[in-house]
């Protein structure tokens, strides 16, 4: 898709959402609710968080008004797209038993609205690509995820306003959208007005753009958009130590630092719930009152839960130390062994939404320092 970039103004973006809604798509995008910028179904572009930004710190998230009226000048909120593609509860199959004792099993057709995701940050675009590898990239496919994913249209919004908890550069990413989107928007607000540079990433994206009023992007818009994305690279609030994280994790299994973090960690699992790549699930058996109809439900699970590693006789990972270690070493190291990619995109959600403010970048830096001390 090498077509010259186009530009949309605010009315053009409204028209884009209207076309998607008219097509019967479930449009999901950022909107202000309950003191946060959440992802929710949008009826129109008016629901976008125009004029809102966020202030983030470890264990802290605050909405702040923005004078420029920008819609996408905020970093990751409490949800991610996995809430829609890999929902927290899903029925897998059901079984029925007759009076004669015969049993039939029925696969559940996955709920699969035709999603259009509006405002997918580049970090979250990478997170979707990672969940693709985990859930539909192997020998077996998660049918529900695959059905929803293949039907979803992705409209990225490049990052021009990284937060204080952001560190995507350290995980191999950046504020510009990688391929994988149908359309990529870059928001520009300056004396020439409020507009969105649009790049086309797929045939479907091109057809969609043709149906809304747009014009060729002028050179100034293109230059300003590029400059603000480039500037965002240098404005990340945090970073991981620039070392080989896989070997650091591998060398740190007996580190003293795990005891330190375990003193603070509540093992609540918030980090795994807000993480856009954490995919773990458990299953539940649900029966009706007759006892002859049973359903198999999948729901999100967390490696911080004591039951997660339960075997007859007890759990493998009993100590908080071992559970935090499992999460961090999986994210940064063993994920590569299992899925040939990192499990972290540097979105910073786990830092902001940790109730005690545990900061993944600080923990990794401490492990690196501890290794350095030992090798001296």
């Amino acid at each position: 898709m090498s077509a010259a970039p186009a530009a949309l103004d605010r009315d053009g973006l409204s028209a884009l959402v209207a076309v998607l809604v008219a097509d019967g798509r479930t449009v999901v995008g950022p909107t202000v609710r309950d003191g946060a910028i959440v992802l929710s179904e949008l009826d129109s572009a008016d629901a976008l968080p125009y004029g809102w930004g966020v202030e983030l710190e470890a264990g802290r998230y605050r909405l702040v008004p923005r004078e420029d009226g920008a819609a996408f000048a905020h970093s990751a909120g409490p949800q991610s797209w996995k809430n829609f593609l890999h929902p927290s509860r899903e029925r897998l199959w059901s079984a029925d038993r007759t009076a004669e004792g015969e049993v039939t099993f029925t696969a559940h057709e996955p709920a699969a609205p035709a999603y259009a995701f509006l405002g997918v940050r580049p970090c979250d675009l990478r997170a979707i690509a990672i969940q693709d590898r985990v859930l539909i990239g192997g020998r077996y496919e998660d049918t529900g995820y695959g059905t929803r994913r293949r039907g979803a249209l992705l409209i990225a919004a490049e990052c021009t306003e990284p937060g204080a908890t952001c560190f995507c550069i350290s995980t191999g990413g950046g504020p510009a959208a990688d391929p994988g989107y149908d359309l990529a928007l870059t928001e520009v607000v300056d004396e020439d007005g409020h507009r969105f540079l649009v790049r086309v990433g797929s045939e479907e994206g091109a057809r969609l753009l043709e149906r809304v009023p747009h014009h060729g992007a002028d050179l100034a818009t293109e230059a300003t958009a590029r400059a603000s994305v480039d500037a965002a690279r240098d404005r990340m609030g945090r970073s991981l130590p620039p070392v080989d994280l896989r070997s650091l994790m591998g060398a740190s299994l007996d580190a003293e630092r795990w005891n330190d973090v375990a003193e603070r960690c509540l093992t609540c699992g918030n980090c795994t719930m807000v993480c856009p790549t954490c995919f773990c699930t458990t299953t539940e058996e649900v029966t009706d009152l007759t006892g002859d109809h049973t359903e198999r439900w999948q729901r999100w699970d967390s490696c911080f839960d004591l039951d997660f590693s339960y075997l007859h006789g007890g759990s493998v990972r009993r100590s908080p130390r071992s559970r935090y270690r499992q999460w961090l070493t999986h994210k940064l190291s063993t994920w590569h062994d299992q899925f040939d990619t990192t499990g972290c995109v540097g979105c910073g959600r786990c830092i902001a939404w940790c109730p005690v403010g545990i900061d993944i970048t600080e923990e990794v830096a401490a492990l690196d320092a501890e290794r350095g001390t030992e090798s001296d």
């Binding site: 079984a95 049993v103 077996y140 007996d254 699930t281 997660f308």
Partner: protein, 268 residues
């Protein structure tokens, strides 16, 4: 395609011990693909849930069977199944015992407790071709004589050496008392020319594999079967992680080169 269980009818049930039952199955309709010794299935107990269970018999030699010890809600339900009941099974999943690697060599098979069950189809396959191996040794350990599985069948096997030992004897026990590794001295094998298969509780796997390696059995010729919590068996639920492994697809059978560093870290 969502992995949905396939109905199987219980065609035979044998109580192995006070808490362990072997169920033999026939498919009600369509059959599952053939299992290999060492592979596992997800077995469903209606209204209770699913658990991973290695096969204790495969279709190719005697029909699909699972040996289940009652240790929780699902295994309780399965142990209570009667002949004629229908149970959902999906599989086969995971890696198998690599018996081809033992051809022309001494074979040492070491089982601890219920760990005997996943090894049984391997033992049958090896004994079916006595000329293909230099020797076959079967070493079995259990907590008490009452916990020994398939004693009559074990006694009938024509091996170079079959040893049985228990941790705690009972009044009529005339056999060995002690851990299973103590039987290694009586088995007939040349360590450098041996392929070994080990299944049992994790401390037993660790002790046995270390002893075999210490005696000189190459680490990559010691195969062990690992156990972890599993919800899906298809690599998606994350529960069966052991460091870099997803045990449902990289295991359950792995060699000791792979398992040793992982089983040496506490709470990994």
């Amino acid at each position: 395609m969502t992995a949905v269980p396939v109905p199987h009818r219980v065609v035979a049930r044998r109580a192995e011990t006070a808490d362990t039952v072997t169920l033999r199955f026939e498919p009600v309709g369509s059959a599952l693909p053939d299992f290999l010794p060492g592979q596992f299935a997800m077995v469903h107990s209606f209204g209770r849930g699913e658990i991973p269970v290695s096969v204790s018999s495969v279709q190719a030699t005697g029909g699909l069977a699972h040996t289940v010890r009652s240790v929780g809600a699902v295994s309780d339900g399965l142990c209570a199944a009667r002949v004629g009941d229908v149970v959902g099974i999906r599989g086969p999943y995971g890696t198998s015992w690599e018996s081809a690697r033992a051809r022309g060599r001494d074979v040492v098979i070491v089982a601890g407790g219920i760990g005997f069950a996943p090894l049984r189809p391997l033992i049958l396959a090896v004994l079916a071709e006595p000329a293909a191996y230099r020797s076959v040794n079967v070493l079995i350990g259990a907590r008490t004589p009452s916990d020994l599985i398939a004693r009559a069948e074990v006694a009938s096997w024509a091996t170079a050496y079959t040893g049985v030992t228990v941790d705690q004897p009972e009044v009529d026990w005339r056999g060995d008392v002690g851990v299973v590794t103590e039987l290694l001295g009586r088995a007939q094998f040349e360590p450098e020319e041996t392929t070994a298969y080990v299944c049992g509780p994790e401390p037993m796997i660790r002790a046995t594999s270390r002893e075999l390696a210490h005696l000189g059995v190459p680490r990559d010729r010691i195969q062990v079967s690992l156990e972890r919590n599993m919800r899906c068996a298809t690599g998606h639920c994350g529960h069966c992680q052991l460091g870099p492994l997803l045990v449902c697809r990289a295991g359950p059978v792995v060699d000791w080169t792979c398992a040793e560093p992982l089983l040496s870290v506490r709470e990994l």
